[in-house]
């Protein structure tokens, strides 16, 4: 702030008293613009130097005072904002927030359980599928080797039926898992409604 060369050219303000008879209220922008100075005596051009210096000193003082006030207010403001946040934090309270955390945790535990269950079932189904396919190939190759294409078709259709059955049971499982998810969804919806009320 004090590095501006045009300001540092002004002599230190402390020693310059306010001109007598003027009001002690800070200068308004209008007053600054309308300020008049005494003409210099002896016909020289310009204003009285002391007059101008005094006035600039006065302005510098006032600016410094305002800056101090602004700084103090900003500090106050920061403190108030901080206090407001803390107050807001206390108002919401830990109980409400902790309740939401607890609900979230419970939901996640149940989801994890369901996921683990469905993962296990899906892995079992995949294994079963592999076995069925491997068996089918083995059988098909054996029969292929025996050059009995009609039997192969019958065999293939039997295996297809098996696979479809496996897929159907998987789909049933998926529906079940989905139903569980829907239940969780409505539970969470209820929680949200609670939050809002």
């Amino acid at each position: 702030m004090n590095t501006d060369p045009t300001l540092s050219a002004v002599p230190p303000p402390a020693s310059a008293p306010l001109p007598a008879g003027r009001p002690a209220r800070p200068q308004t922008p209008g007053q600054v613009r309308a300020a008049t100075f005494t003409r210099t005596p002896l016909g020289r051009r310009g204003f009285d130097e002391d007059d101008v210096t005094r006035y600039l000193d006065r302005l510098a003082d006032e600016i410094a005072t305002r800056d101090d006030a602004i700084g103090r207010l900003m500090h106050e403001n920061r403190k108030l904002r901080h206090a407001l946040r803390e107050w807001h934090r206390d108002m919401i309270g830990y109980e409400g927030v902790d309740l939401v955390s607890m609900a979230q945790q419970q939901v996640e535990e149940q989801i994890a359980q369901t996921d683990a269950y469905s993962r296990q079932r899906e892995e079992e189904a995949a294994r079963l599928y592999d076995e069925i396919v491997a068996e089918a190939y083995e059988e098909a190759e054996r029969r292929f080797g025996a050059a009995l294409s009609g039997d192969l078709e019958e065999q293939t259709s039997r295996q297809r039926t098996l696979i479809v059955a496996v897929l159907q049971s998987l789909e049933a499982l998926a529906t079940q898992v989905d139903a569980t998810r829907q239940t969780f969804n409505s539970e969470i919806d209820k929680l949200e409604l609670l939050d809002k009320s």
Partner: protein, 416 residues
């Protein structure tokens, strides 16, 4: 943030120390944060999936990265800009950032207790304001050129194996992406659960996009996409992301592509890009593609790959299966000329086949374990790091979201 000409300087060390104290509380921090957020603004809850576990990890990772780079804006700014753009698909608006900041500061206060001073709170408020304004500005900028989400219709759904399906989706608005990129996808069957998939084709004139989906046991989105989604269903797509697997113009011309399972998707897109560029008079690249599955029935796209191989002299495809189960079966009958696949792990077979390091760029995509094992072999064989491009399904190598180390800039100049 700063007032009356006095620039307030954030005490970065103090900020980092305070985060270290808070982060030591682990998952509880993110739990408290979201509980505070949902208590204060309940309507925000519906933007998240039921289970928040993965979300909490992401939040802590993102906060950790932000705090540790708060004095390194060159790295932090692109990360936050990406985060801001990425949040558009969740329906995040500028108005949401205020309550999030309040919840964050309140949470920090909860865990710091007496260490939560006015000055520290002010530092955090300043830092958060910077984060929020960067994210908001990036989101606003992106909204000028692209929608927050694309709606796409499933126009084909083909179940290739017990647990793999190939879907074709048709976005309602032009969806510009570069082969090798991925996109977040949400299906109406599993709302608010976004998963990343990689287009398996170079951009087409009709705009349709192929997706290769394998059902992960217990994976809610992948099983819905394989089992339940049907032709005519709608999905939603986020903007394309990631530059890990895109072609690098400054890299070697010739390519080695190593794919495990549905990691084939981005590789097939790269092959199609090379085909398109060659057709347009681009440089000749030689491409060697290794495609692996557990067993021969899992080589779900082999017929299409063989067709590409027949068409393009610069492409060589090697099929690899981990277990040699009855090859002479349906596949052998449908393509009698199909060679018996190599047996082993696709990474091992590929690294053995390509031999000593040469002037080729190597791309690896698959499960994290497959990618890690393959990279180890490549490094052992002496392949230089700058020639290796990789991405794992479980986030290895970094998805931009939870893993900030992923490159955020594109390296290639392919114009879709």
């Amino acid at each position: 943030m700063a007032g009356s000409g006095q620039t307030r300087v954030v005490d970065v060390d103090r900020l980092k120390r305070s985060w270290a104290l808070v982060a030591a509380h682990g998952d509880k921090v993110a739990m408290r944060f979201y509980s505070r957020l949902f208590t204060a603004v309940p309507e925000v809850r519906q933007m998240f999936p039921l289970s928040m576990a993965a979300q909490r990890d992401r939040l802590v990772t993102a906060l950790g990265f932000t705090v540790s780079h708060v004095d390194d804006l060159d790295r932090l700014a692109p990360y936050l800009q990406h985060l801001g753009r990425d949040h558009r698909k969740f329906g995040v608006l500028a108005d949401h950032y205020g309550p999030v900041g309040d919840a964050l500061l309140a949470t920090l206060g909860d865990f710091l207790g007496r260490d939560w001073t006015i000055d520290l709170a002010h530092d955090w408020a300043d830092a958060y304001a910077l984060v929020a304004s960067t994210m908001i500005a990036a989101a606003d900028e992106a909204s000028l050129t692209s929608p927050a989400v694309w709606t796409a219709e499933v126009v084909a759904h083909e179940r290739r194996t017990f647990d793999i399906a190939v879907l074709t989706v048709q976005p309602d608005e032009p969806y510009g992406y570069v082969p090798g990129q991925s996109m977040a996808l949400e299906t109406a069957a599993r709302p608010r659960m976004w998963r990343y998939y990689s287009p398996a084709n170079a951009p087409r004139d009709d705009g349709s996009i192929d997706l290769h989906v394998r059902r992960t046991p217990g994976g809610p989105v992948s099983s819905a996409l394989v089992d339940r989604v049907q032709k005519g269903d709608m999905v939603r797509l986020g903007a394309p992301v990631g530059w890990r697997l895109t072609l690098d113009d400054d890299g070697p011309l010739d390519l080695v592509l190593i794919a495990g399972g549905t990691g084939l998707a981005p590789m097939k897109a790269l092959v199609e890009q090379v085909a398109a560029e060659t057709l347009a008079g681009g440089p000749i690249r030689r491409v060697e593609l290794f495609v692996g599955g557990r067993r021969s029935t899992e080589l779900y796209e082999l017929a299409a790959l063989r067709a590409l191989e027949d068409e393009h002299g610069w492409l060589a495809v090697t099929a690899v299966v981990a277990h040699d189960v009855r090859w002479r079966s349906s596949m052998a009958r449908s393509r009698p000329d199909e060679r018996r696949p190599e047996v082993g792990e696709v990474g091992e077979v590929a690294v053995r086949a390509i031999g000593c390091p040469s002037d080729r760029a190597v791309y690896v995509c698959g499960g994290d374990a497959m990618v890690t094992a393959t990279l180890d072999l490549l490094r052992e064989a002496g392949w230089p790091r700058e020639h290796l491009h990789f991405e794992g399904f479980q986030g290895l190598g970094g998805d931009i979201y939870g893993h900030p180390d992923a490159p955020l800039e594109r390296r290639g100049t392919f114009q879709p």
